[in-house]
Structure formats: structure tokens, C-alpha cells
Assembly symmetry: C2
Homo-oligomer: 238 residues x 2
């Protein structure tokens, strides 16, 4: 039989997985709402974000309660603190999906995404869905190899983000200012969504190995790699 | 004489104040770099962000160490956990200042900010500086009244953000696409900077009163107030 501490930890882990499921559903539905200019779907995403926020608060309270009752030290203590950081990342992913839904709602009956960029946004949505689904599996399985491999999905998202900026700046295209502003922000929402997923995966690596694999916030790493932030593309194509 | 626990807490509080000082210096210098197209200043902001990240890691380790050694419960436990959340907000504010600096660096020898918008960006920089300076005082003094009043500064930032979008979408103006993309992102960086400051202030309120005054993430509140996200302006002026 497992002791109380480990049973509590299992519950926390289950709630983290539930948060990945909700964030995945949110980004998937937000993408559809955006592409189909579906105001009801957009509103349901915005409304559903409350549930995510509630679970995050519950999870934090449960973690604090666990610290108070069980007084864990060393690795056990780090596990609980790390779970709180993970729930913060996952809540933020829900917020970002909500932002996408709000742009969708704002533009109905039109879609915020012009026809030429639909396929591109479909791809960004798919990468976001895949990365958060993998996040859930990684939390459940504590699979360090899968966690490290998540960087590849994030690289794919970064590349899609770069391509989106290039398309927005391509002199052979013409976009309205609304389209330019909407898509600049939408691009950033998807990209940050993937960054937070990587951050969650790295916290799993840390829990298992005791070492962080790289920077905590994926975005911070771009400095190290010498890559510019994405408006950097502007210099080349603008 | 104070006991060890409270001495440790004082050190944590001092480090949080130090983080506000560094974040304030970062956003102030990033704004100057942006307006003056000063590549060296921009690079010094980008470089200095490491210091902020280091202090945040140190602060988290100190907090975890404190939990392990002192095994606080009830309010004392919540103080330590809340300090960790605050350091996360402050580190993110440093990241956002770094993003502004990176846009500045990218556009040199030109400024990313066209002459017509200089005064506006100066104002956004000033509000950002003021809000993070107040944050530092609030952490040091635990002044709940000042913490609640910080919402006013954030309202001012939101209004500046709205005006920036309105200017970008105003049909009587002409901007290059680079300018539109840069300023869309820059506007968001300043606005998020202020949101995180409000979040820090609300955590102080929570520590003193045991109650959060409003949503944890200021951004989330806009839903409650029925206000749209800022691209919302687009419908009216675009």
C-alpha cells in the first residue's frame, strides 16, 4: 500500500494531467473558432477557461496543504513545489488559448485569418495540440526521453511562427492593418503556448533527474542560441 | 531579537525588492534604448537580465531551503510560497524588458518607434517604471492601500495600450509593416509588464489580509469587466 504522501502526490499529478487535457481542448477549439469564425465556440472556450483556473487554485491549495501536513523535505519537497510551477504554466496555456478565442469572437462574422494563411494557422493549432497532449503523457509517465524530445515540437512551432511573420512582411502580399495586428498577436499566443509546454516538460526532467535540461523558459534560450526574437525576420524580408 | 525564520523571510523580502529594482532599471533602459536606437544600451539590458534570472533561482532555492529547515505551517507557509510566485512575476517582468531591448537592438541604427509615437512610448515607459518602483515599496512596506492603488497605474497603462492600437489602426496614418508588427509586440510587452506588477501587489495584499483583491492575473480580469482584449479597438477604429 502506498503512504498518504504518495497518494496525495498521485492526485496532484492527476490534476496536472487534467489541466493539460483542458488546455489541449481549449487550444483545439479556439483554433477551430478562429478559422470558422464560430462565435459560440469562441465563447465556450472563454467560459471554459474558468474551470482551468479553478483547478489550478485547487491544485495550489492541495499542494500547500500537503506541505503543511506532511512536511516533506529534499526531493519530496521539490516535487510539490515543482507541481505548483507546472500548474502555473498550464493555467497560462489556458489563458493563451482564451486570447485566441477572443480574437476569433471579435472578428465574427468574419474570420481573423485570411484564406492565404488558413493552412498555416491549422498547422500552428495542430502543433499546439500535439505538444500539450504529449505534455500530459509526460507528466503521467515521467518519461524523460519524451520530455526532452518535446523541444522538437517547439522548434516546429518556432519555425511556423517565423514563417507567419515572413508572410505578414512579404511585400507581395497585402493585408489589412487589422489582419496584421491580429496575426502578430495570434502568432505570439501560439508560440508562447508551446514555450510553456516545454517548460512543463523540463520540470518533469528536473523531477526525475534532479537537473534542468536547459533554460526554464524556452523563450529565454533564444538568446543563448544567438537567434533573434521573431520580429528579427523583418530585417531579412521586410 | 528576531528568530531565524523571520530573519530568513526578511532576506527573501530584500531579494524581492532587489528584483523590482533590477526590473525597473531594465525597463527604463530598454525604453531609452528603443527611443535612442542605442544598441549598446540595448545589449546591456539583454545581458543584465541574467542577473535577474540568477537572483530568482537563488530566491527559489532559499525558499525551498527555508521550507525544509523550518517546516512552516499556516500563514508562514503561505508567505514562503507566495514569495516564490512573486519572484516568478518579477523575473517575467525582466524578460519583457529584455524583449523591448531586443526590438531596439534589431532596428538600430534606426529607432523602432516612429517620431509620431515617441511621446506615447515615453509615457508607457514612465508608467512601467513608476509601477515597478511602487511594487518595490509595497513589498518592503506591506502597504495594502498602496498595493490596491496600483490598479490605477495599470489602468493608465491599459489606456495607453488602447491608444497605441488606435494610432496603429488610424487610417490617417501610414506605417510600414515593420513598424506595425514591432509596435504591436512592444505595446503588449509594456502592458504585460504592468499586469505582472499588479499581480505582485495583489500577492502582498493576500499576505497581509489573507484575501486576494481580484483576479491573480490582471489580464484575466478584463473578461469580468466585459472589456475586450485590446485588438478590440480594431473594430471601432479599423
Amino acid at each position: 500500500m502506498r503512504d498518504q504522501f504518495h497518494e496525495d502526490l498521485d492526485q496532484i499529478s492527476d490534476q496536472l494531467v487534467e489541466l493539460t487535457r483542458l488546455a489541449g481542448s481549449a487550444i483545439s477549439r479556439a483554433t477551430t473558432a478562429l478559422l470558422d469564425a464560430d462565435v459560440h465556440l469562441a465563447e465556450s472556450v472563454i467560459e471554459a477557461d474558468r474551470k482551468l483556473d479553478e483547478i489550478r487554485v485547487e491544485l495550489d491549495n492541495r499542494s500547500i496543504d500537503l506541505l503543511a501536513r506532511q512536511q516533506p523535505v529534499a526531493t519530496d519537497l521539490r516535487i510539490v513545489v515543482t507541481a505548483m510551477h507546472m500548474s502555473s504554466d498550464l493555467e497560462r496555456m489556458g489563458d493563451l488559448a482564451r486570447h485566441v478565442a477572443k480574437v476569433a469572437r471579435l472578428r465574427t462574422p468574419d474570420s481573423a485569418v485570411p484564406p492565404q494563411l488558413r493552412a498555416h494557422i491549422v498547422q500552428m493549432g495542430q502543433v499546439a495540440e500535439a505538444i500539450v497532449a504529449k505534455c500530459g503523457s509526460i507528466i503521467a509517465s515521467k518519461d524523460v526521453v519524451a520530455a526532452v524530445a518535446l523541444d522538437k515540437d517547439d522548434d516546429a512551432m518556432d519555425e511556423l511562427h517565423r514563417q507567419l511573420f515572413a508572410a505578414l512582411l512579404d511585400e507581395n502580399t497585402s493585408w489589412t492593418r487589422n489582419e496584421l495586428l491580429d496575426l502578430t498577436l495570434i502568432g505570439r499566443y501560439y508560440e508562447r503556448f508551446a514555450d510553456h509546454a516545454v517548460s512543463v516538460a523540463r520540470r518533469v526532467v528536473y523531477l526525475v533527474t534532479g537537473e534542468y535540461d536547459g533554460a526554464l523558459d524556452r523563450e529565454d534560450e533564444e538568446d543563448e542560441r544567438g537567434a533573434d526574437d521573431l520580429p528579427g525576420l523583418a530585417r531579412r524580408v521586410g
